[in-house]
Amino acid sequence: MAAHRCGLSLVCILFFSSLAHPSRCDTLEKANDNTATKRSISEVNTDGSVAGEDMNERQWQSTDVEVNRSDGTKNSETFTPAPAKDQFQEELVIRPLHSGDIYASFQFRTLWDTDFLQEGQKKVSHYRLFPKSLGQVLSKFSVQELHISFTQGFWRTMQWGQPFIPSPPGAELWVWFHHTVSDVDGNWKELTNVLSGIFCASLNFIDMTNTVQPSASFKPLGLGNATDHRFLRYATLPREIVCTENLTPWKKLLPCGSKAGLAVLMKSEKLFHSSFHSQAVHIRPICQDEQCTSKAWELRQTLNVVFDHYTSGQGKKEWSLFKMFSRTLTEACPLASSSKVYVDITDNPEGELFELSPATPLLSQAVVLGDRRTYSVYDLTRAETFGQLRSFNLLLRWKGDSGDMLRPLLHAERYVAGFGLQTGEIHTVIYNNHPYRAFPVLLMDSVPWYLQLYIHTLTVTSKSRDNKPSYIHYQPAKDRHRPHLLEMLIQLPPHSMTEVTVQFERALLKWTEYTPDPNHDLTSRFFFKEESSYFVRVYTEPLLVNLPTPDFSMPYNVICLTCTVVAVGYGSFYNLLTRTFQVDEPSPPLAKRLANFIRRIRGVPLLA
């Protein structure tokens, strides 16, 4: 009954504007550094109504930037002729969730104004804020864009709404290679092995049997309109367990490590005592300035945690930085040009849901996933934030009750139907809860070869009517070489439930192909994207699919039996064959011997 996991995710991407958006937002960021949360591409949207505060912030930040830049120039002058201007920004967004849980999202953003993919710039030996280990990897393997995430737990859309950056359970890696790369598969193979070393993870288990090249589901998030999916590789490892050994190398990539700044909050015993933990690294090329004359590298390290109010709150719904992380903040990272803590107060305009202390006059607004959110901002570069105690401990006291389950706009779930070990059916149910809007969704599914899909049984039904996908891309699996890949563009009618089903048969594996825990699981993947003014990615749960498993104790029994037979049978037979037999004189009885002894002493002839 070896089983199988299938993860499904939902990605919603705006095809046309997504290319324009990132550059625009980068430009904005570059120009005045005042963006609130650079959570996702479409999120940056400074509003006129908070312009005053923005100006306020800008004042503060621009000075930081100046300092930073002068630092950068000073350092770089000594080593490199072309001044590489590095920047580092850190932020923590805390969102009290509907369910009473707390969502904490760290983002560390390092910008590096260099482009080593261009001719003549291949050899970059000087690194300042950008981690050298990653930079070397990028240049060696000609990586255009790299996204890697490690997640433990499952994002509960029904309770928590949409995450800032979605990620599937386990490890996920997708990479765009530069178009000059000739041997993409070779580079990919080597890259996964190198990354496996860097992040202390089993990424080396990524091979051709779990790698796919989606044709439509992924677009580069950064610069470069490379849309040739030959240079894209995507793989997931849903069985990967994420733990402190992955966190430590991830923290080491930060300029301040975990010594200063927001990263001091990252104590692993607290981070892993949570309902959800996800850490990610995103690297992409962006524009250096508004004209986009030269490129810069952006490294975003994100860490998302959801703390459970039941297990850690002991009934009291009260949160503080100290309670969550068992640390308080005392300073910003000295290398950071901006260091801020944001608290989402959108649902709490009058303070009726929760109470924040210390209060802050600074507010910021941003559009996150199509939703206008308001944030309280705490700037760690300002001394006032830390108060007289020289330590910043944000306290959040709940007043209201935790609500019922949400009805998120889009959510999906996935399960295996049927019983028995021969056939089964994968059901993917996608809910569109919008009252009047239909959404086009791109669904991507990659299923391992050992689930043999019957693609003719693929059905898509919405509102009990057949829903014909407008685009289908299907690549069948090759046994032991390639997984199935299925991509479909489906229109979700408003307020509907769409069900995608496909039947499969379980393959019999060779006995060496079973995992050490064959009665547990193996893996697969599923994906989605939506066309809209913003994109959401929703991952459904991975699946456990039992595979027929032989009785593995049988060989053991057989070995025991054979060994016994050989030992007993051969042993005694050999013994019989090699032993020489001779007639042994029975020794005379004791009385006789005694008699003979006395007779010998007396010199009388012995008894016979």
Binding site: M1, A3, R5, G7, Q152, G153, F154, R156, M158, Q159, P169, G170, P238, F272, H273, S274, S275, F276, H277, D308, Y310, T311, Q314, D404, M405, E413, Y415, V416, A417, G418, F419, L421, E425, H427, D517, P518, N519, H520, D521, E541, P542, L543, L544, V545, N546, T549
Partner: protein, 607 residues
């Protein structure tokens, strides 16, 4: 040599005695299985559950009881499942709550439980494991039964949910399910969860991956003196023995009195009473398993390869009282161990009999008992085969009758076979389909109509030989019945063999009653006496005997008329179980065993 073989298995020959010895040996072997020195001590095979003893801390027994009272009050008010209250109660404990409504129409009214059109709601809450990706789940269920029963189970379920929610160590989601209309609700929920449509599909929303194990709780009083473990599931399936071991281990650890088949374990195996006790326990298990119905809500899980058991609280042994908190601790311990599982439960046995909770008989030990019975059938068949071949040898000497037997043989064999099976099909189909007509013409209820139709068809089948003979053109030849008997013997051997592999108890009980009479049946025996013997050993009478033996074993003996009523209700339950949950005993008996028996009946009246 042919001549020698021909007379080998005639009465008073070596072979005949050998077959008698085989039969007796089978019975003795089977009865010996309950003798303690011949059985193995149970042991935990699963590593993940063995060494990691957990510390149980559940202490909210009082809260469980007050929740039970509250539930009872709301149940009375709602006159059934208090859905809203339960949803709120589960939500307040931090679970993701879902409901599933279902409706079923029974093929005919169930008079034991007084239901016909069933409409109900299942309420379940999912405790999401922190940092686990919804791949695996454990289920704890408590039925919402009418009247006063099982309130404490629901109370304990809610108290456990509250306690479990505050723990961080869960690696699997835990589903707390309160199902209405016992097995019907459970069936609806399982079908909804796995999206299978065996008896009628009711959709369901929240899921938590593949279910690894399930425990069903039945507690009906505040004071519990012992816990009974129920393992027998649908079609005689049993959960992995490790689940029983786990229960036993925690009973030992917490000093809880535990029983199986309602019987306490005795230590005096070397006395006659001790042996009888173990034999009774084992016989009860065999009878329960043979009847192929689910003896608790857990039984339906087994089809989906989910290891499940029911735990029933018993208030009977006055001296040992335990509070609800102890049961809660026991469940906590079991669930935590199951939570530790890395793989599905698969290490231990799936086929076993339990003469007591600490002793088991594995398939390797009990199968020889059945094998000895099957050998009788096969040897008989071999004997007939050789017998049939012998005249062909003689034909070489000049008697030109050698061509004869094969020609009419096929027809003479085929006709009774087909007619018997058609009777079987009638027995399978007509009772349910003809109920309306029967109710119109006779002053009986639907249920009685169904059962009595079944009995009538069964009895009518006895008149078959005459009809068969009328259809056949010629006289039945000596060759004819031998060929028919050979076919029937092999058929019976295959049937019983397959049944015994899946459900040993059913196969063995059928073999014990069918083998002696079928193996020795010839048309030359005294008609009246053998006919009586055949009828008394027919499948229907086997069921009747089982009813009496079962009542005797559970120490509730019944009179003949009560026994007859029980027999009728057993038949109706069998038909209902088949229609509602897909139990296979009724179709097996109607479509295969009964026609096979009819073939032998035909041989007796071969003229």
């Amino acid at each position: 040599m042919g001549l020698f073989m021909q007379h080998l298995c005639e009465p008073d020959t070596l072979c005949h005695h050998f077959l008698m010895v085989c039969y007796l040996a089978a019975i003795v072997w089977f009865m010996g299985l309950a003798f303690e020195p011949f059985t193995l001590r149970t042991y935990m095979s699963e590593n993940a559950m063995g060494s990691t003893m957990v510390e149980e801390r559940f202490s909210s027994g009082e809260r469980a009881l007050s929740l039970a009272k509250e539930f009872d009050a709301h149940k009375r008010k709602a006159g059934g499942m208090p859905m809203e209250w339960l949803v709120k109660a589960m939500q307040a404990r931090g679970l993701e709550v879902f409901t599933q409504s279902f409706s079923r129409k029974l093929p005919f009214p169930d008079e034991n439980k007084e239901r016909y059109m069933v409409r109900g709601t299942n309420v379940y809450g999912i405790l999401r494991a922190p940092r686990a990706p919804r791949t695996e789940a454990l289920v704890i269920t408590a039925p919402c039964s009418p009247g006063n029963s099982n309130n404490q189970a629901v109370g304990l379920l809610l108290a456990l949910a509250q306690y479990f929610r505050n723990q961080i160590f869960w690696a699997k989601d835990i589903i707390f399910l309160v199902n209405e209309h016992d097995l019907i609700g459970m069936q609806a929920w399982l079908e909804g969860y796995h999206h299978t449509n065996i008896t009628g599909y009711s959709p369901l929303q929240g899921r938590a991956g593949s279910i690894q194990a399930a425990l069903s709780l039945e507690l009906s009083s505040d004071v519990i003196t012992s816990l009974d473990l129920i393992l027998e599931g649908l079609n005689g399936q049993l959960p992995n023995l490790d689940l029983a071991n786990l229960f036993y281990a925690f009973c030992q650890k917490l000093g809880v009195l535990c029983t199986i088949q309602g019987k306490l374990q005795r230590n005096d195996w070397d006395t006659a009473e001790g042996y009888t006790h173990a034999a009774q326990t084992m016989m009860l298990m065999v009878l329960k398993q043979a009847c192929g119905r689910s003896w608790g809500d857990h039984g339906l899980f087994l089809r989906y390869h989910i290891e499940a058991a029911s735990i029933r609280g018993i208030n009977g042994f006055r001296h040992y009282k335990m509070d609800v908190a102890t049961i809660g601790r026991l469940l906590e311990g079991m669930v935590r161990k199951l939570n530790n599982l890395l793989e599905r439960l698969h290490q231990s046995y799936f086929f076993y009999l339990l003469p007591s909770l600490s002793r088991f008989v594995s398939i390797g030990y009990y199968m020889p008992a059945f094998g000895l019975l099957a050998v009788i059938l096969l040897l008989r068949a071999l004997d007939l085969w050789v017998n049939l071949g012998a005249p062909a040898l003689e034909a070489v000497d000049g008697v030109t009758e050698a061509e004869q037997p094969s020609g009419p043989g096929v027809l003479t064999v085929l006709t009774p076979v087909v007619i018997s099976h058609l009777t079987g099909v009638a027995l399978y189909l007509l009772p349910v389909h003809l109920q309306e007509m029967a109710v119109e013409h006779f002053p009986v209820s639907e249920t009685e109509a169904v059962v009595l139709t079944a009995v009538a068809i069964y009895t009518a089948g006895l008149a078959l030989p005459h009809n068969t003979q009328r259809l056949l053109s010629g006289e039945g030849t000596e060759q004819g019945w031998k060929v028919l008997k050979l076919t029937a013997l092999l058929y019976l051997a295959v049937l019983l063999g397959c049944t015994a592999l899946i459900n040993f108890s059913l196969g063995f009980i059928l073999a014990v009653t069918l083998v002696p009479i079928t193996a020795s049946m010839t048309p030359h025996m005294p008609k009246a006496l053998s006919a009586l013997a055949m009828v008394l050993l027919s499948p229907a009478f086997t069921i009747l005997y089982c009813v009496f033996i079962y009542q005797e074993l559970i120490e509730a003996p019944v009179s003949v008329s009560e026994g007859w009523m029980l027999f009728l209700s057993v038949i109706s339950q069998g038909i209902l179980d088949h229609a509602l949950y897909g139990s296979l005993v009724y179709p097996l008996l109607a479509l295969f065993i009964y026609p096979c028996w009819l073939m032998f009946w035909n041989i007796l009246f071969w003229s």
